[in-house]
């Protein structure tokens, strides 16, 4: 075996142990995770926006959230004053996912608990603190600086319903959030208000929620339902209110009168007129109207524009103007009342059987004029001022038939025809009452009083006489009569049959006398109490007669006493 000592020694190449170890995966992994998080952070970094508010009420950097539909989409990162210290600049970091909301017409406001007459809102903020609310806009143009709203936006874009514009003369108590009523149900809200371009009216923007918005069509009327609507007219006192909230906070109500209903709901943002009250709003627009003028010589106090004009008590129109008419030549000043009549209203009251008449009259003005002409000329149709309400003194114009009134004609050639009038009955009654009072004034009341007093005095005297004189005499007479009767009685007891007859006869006479006396007494009673007291003389005469009768009776008795035989033989002839 050869020995190859000079052969080079084979080098042992050690397996390199210095190659990159797997342990480096750990830092690479850590770096990857950290980088991943960083990239995710940077990618998810949403826009930073600045909102300018007047005041940062309850806004805190790092705490206050920006919420859309109650979902947090960002956070306020800084709250600082604007360079001129007049405003507050709120910087907020918005989530990447909500970046699309930050467009030109997005609106921001501070949501805080709000207690108003029309409701309590934002109660959640009592616990979580105020937050910034956002309402997404329709624009696609991005924006990063916004002007915050002072009042929260009430209607969100997604809310079903439609908004409309109301034009009003003044705002009244209506404010943002004021309810909108439909048949006393809250159907929407006042969203905003602004002065119209010309500065002469208010434009209210209202939002009517679905499904109420379908009830708004071109014929719908809106009116101010604020507070209590008290109207005093010839029709009496009318009080109307929509709800307690409307009473305090104001409100708008709407309804569609049956005659004006349109099948199609109104398009969004349609402009409507806001009427002052329900009556005005719901008034039917008159298709035909005829204007007349009336000249009155009497007081127009209590007659105002809007007062009703009636025909046989049915409303036929209204007073449009109350003025004056002066004729310089004759120096006559009279009241001029312009009225507008709506023949439609009266024609609508015709029965179905008279549809033909109605159609004819409604169609042709000439027909109406001819008919009116006949009414005035043949039936004596006249206008008259009447008091609608004695308490308030409101007047209205009534047309009625006065067949006795002087002849009159209507001159249709005039622009505004003059209708004949008749004086109102109220002044007539007044004149009559005045006459009566004047006559009463002329009566000689004092003289009459004197006469009456004197008469009473006479009566008094008569009564005094009766007491003092007549009655004692009567007493005496009666006494004598009794005595006479007693004597007669004695005589009768002693007397004979024939004598009895005579005595009877005499007694008869006496009874008559007594009866007469009795009558006299009764008469006396009557005459003495009577107002003219004429019986005093009669009484006295009667009593004298009785006295005389009694006296002759005594003479007879004396004679009989002395000549009892005369009862048998008769009165002896006078002896010589």
């Amino acid at each position: 075996m050869p020995e190859d000592t000079d052969l080079p020694q084979a080098t042992v190449v050690r397996r390199s142990r210095t190659r990159i170890s797997v342990v480096w995966i750990i830092p690479i992994l850590a770096a990857a995770v950290a980088l991943g998080i960083a990239v995710q952070r940077i990618l998810s970094e949403g826009p930073t926006i600045t909102i300018v508010f007047k005041a940062a009420e309850g806004l805190e950097a790092g705490k206050t959230l920006v919420k859309y539909k109650d979902v947090s989409i960002g956070q306020v990162t800084a709250v600082r004053l604007s360079p001129d210290y007049s405003k507050v600049e709120v910087t907020a970091k918005i989530a990447k996912s909500a970046e699309g909301l930050m467009v030109e017409d997005a609106k921001f406001w501070v949501v805080q608990p709000r207690v108003t007459l029309s409701g309590v809102s934002g109660l959640g903020t009592l616990l979580s603190g105020n937050y910034v609310g956002i309402e997404v806009g329709k624009s696609t143009k991005k924006q990063r600086t916004f002007i915050g709203l002072e009042e929260p936006l009430i209607i969100t874009v997604g809310q079903p319903g439609r908004s409309f514009v109301l034009k009003a003369a003044n705002l009244g108590p209506l404010g943002v959030g004021a309810p909108v009523y439909y048949h006393s149900l809250q159907a929407g809200q006042v969203v905003s208000y602004s002065l119209a371009g010309d500065g002469k009216a208010i434009e209210l923007r209202i939002f009517v929620n679905a499904p109420y918005d379908t009830y708004v069509n071109a014929g719908t009327r809106f009116w101010n339902a604020s507070g209590v609507d008290v109207s005093v007219g010839a029709g009496g006192v009318e009080v109307r209110t929509e709800s307690l909230v409307a009473l305090l906070a104001g409100g708008v109500a709407f309804d569609t009168p049956a005659f004006a209903a349109q099948p199609e709901p109104a398009a969004p943002n349609t402009a409507f007129t806001l009427h002052g009250d329900r009556a005005t709003a719901m008034k039917q627009p008159e298709s035909i109207s005829t204007r007349y003028v009336l000249y009155f010589d009497e007081s127009l106090r209590g007659l105002s524009a809007g007062a009703p004009v009636t025909l046989l008590g049915l409303t036929a129109g209204e007073v449009s103007n109350v003025g004056l008419d002066i004729d310089r030549a004759t120096a006559i000043v009279r009241g001029r009342v312009e009225i507008v009549t709506y023949p439609d209203r009266l024609l609508a009251r015709l029965s179905a059987q008279q549809a033909a008449t109605r159609a004819t009259l409604a169609r042709s003005a000439t027909e109406r004029h001819a008919f009116m002409q006949r009414l005035v000329e043949q039936r004596g149709l006249r206008a008259q001022l009447r008091s609608g309400n004695l308490l308030t003194g409101q007047l209205y114009v009534a047309f009625d038939h006065f067949p006795d009134s002087p002849k009159a004609k209507i001159d249709w050639s005039q622009d505004v025809p003059v209708l004949p009038v008749t004086p109102s009955t109220l002044p007539d009654i007044e004149a009559k009452l005045t006459n009566i009072v004047t006559k009463l004034d002329k009566l000689p009341l004092e003289a009459i009083g004197d006469d009456v007093r004197r008469a009473l005095v006479s009566v008094d005297q008569v009564l005094g006489n009766a007491n003092n004189k007549t009655l004692p005499e009567l007493n005496a007479t009666l006494e004598e009569t009794r005595r006479a009767l007693a004597a007669a009685d004695a005589l009768l007891k002693n007397g004979l049959h024939t004598t009895l007859n005579e005595v009877n006869t005499t007694l008869e006479g006496a009874r008559r006398v007594i009866a007469t006396a009795d009558g006299v007494l009764k008469n006396t009673d009557a005459t003495l109490l009577g107002p003219d007291a004429p019986g005093q003389q009669d009484l006295r005469d009667a009593l004298q007669e009785v006295t005389r009768a009694a006296r002759s009776l005594r003479v007879l008795m004396d004679y009989l006493d002395r000549h009892p035989e005369s009862l048998i033989r008769g009165k002896a002839a006078d002896r010589p």
């Binding site: 050690r14 170890s21 750990i26 992994l29 850590a30 995770v33 950290a34 998080i37 979580s128």
Partner: protein, 212 residues
């Protein structure tokens, strides 16, 4: 000064687990400990490389651990996320500066210090520094000792999350930062473990040998 006799110089290898001094099977592949069966190595394999990797990983994790919130407190509907430094600042501004100091030292300074210390040790070992071997060894011991206490923050976080759960009113949720913080602590602990302190001395021996 004579060079100290080390196992490596004597051609021997010491078992890291049971400290049995044994003759290696061959210089490149020392084999296994005849007493406890652990693989023997004159020096830990790739100690410097491993330690570097872990230190760098820990350093990377240290950034999100401090930037991301560790706790998210939701009280009465408003959420509040706090980072470690945010908590320190909050404690300081509310007047409890001693607590702020403790948190600052325990949660910010100590992990950072560990990373810096390990990096320093690695650099000096790689550059073959022969100075202040004792100090460096002490530093290493300190790093190793502190390591096991650094999870305090994570514990506090876990306790708070578990305890404060008054659901509708207030609750606490862990933030992503706490995961990274835990990663920093774990990684530095492993890094400290994988560093072979014997390397500190090796360069000075080699230097002396060279001179000799």
């Amino acid at each position: 000064m004579t060079a100290e006799l080390t196992a490596a110089r004597a051609g021997l290898v010491s078992c890291e687990t049971c400290d049995l001094l044994a003759r290696p099977a061959e210089a490149a592949e020392p084999g296994y400990c005849p007493r406890c069966g652990v693989e023997l190595a004159s020096r830990r394999h790739h100690s410097v490389q491993y330690t570097w990797a872990l230190v760098i990983a820990a350093a990377i994790c240290y950034i999100p651990a401090n930037v991301l919130p560790v706790l998210t407190t939701t009280a009465l509907g408003s959420a509040d996320s706090d980072t470690i430094m945010g908590g320190v600042i909050l404690l300081y501004t509310t007047g409890s500066w001693p607590l702020a100091l403790i948190v600052l030292v325990a949660s910010v300074m100590v992990p950072l210090g560990k990373l810096v210390a390990l990096a320093y040790l690695l650099i000096t070992v790689q550059r073959g520094s022969i100075t202040s071997n004792r100090e460096r060894t002490r530093l290493y011991r300190m790093v190793e000792f502190i390591g096991r206490w650094s999870m305090l923050d994570v514990f506090v976080d876990a306790f708070t999350v578990a305890l404060v759960q008054l659901q509708p009113l207030m609750w606490v949720a862990p933030g992503p930062g706490v995961l990274f913080f835990a990663a920093v602590v774990v990684l530095t602990m492993i890094a400290a473990e994988s560093f072979d302190p014997r390397l500190i001395w090796d360069s000075s021996h080699a230097m002396k040998e060279h001179h000799a």
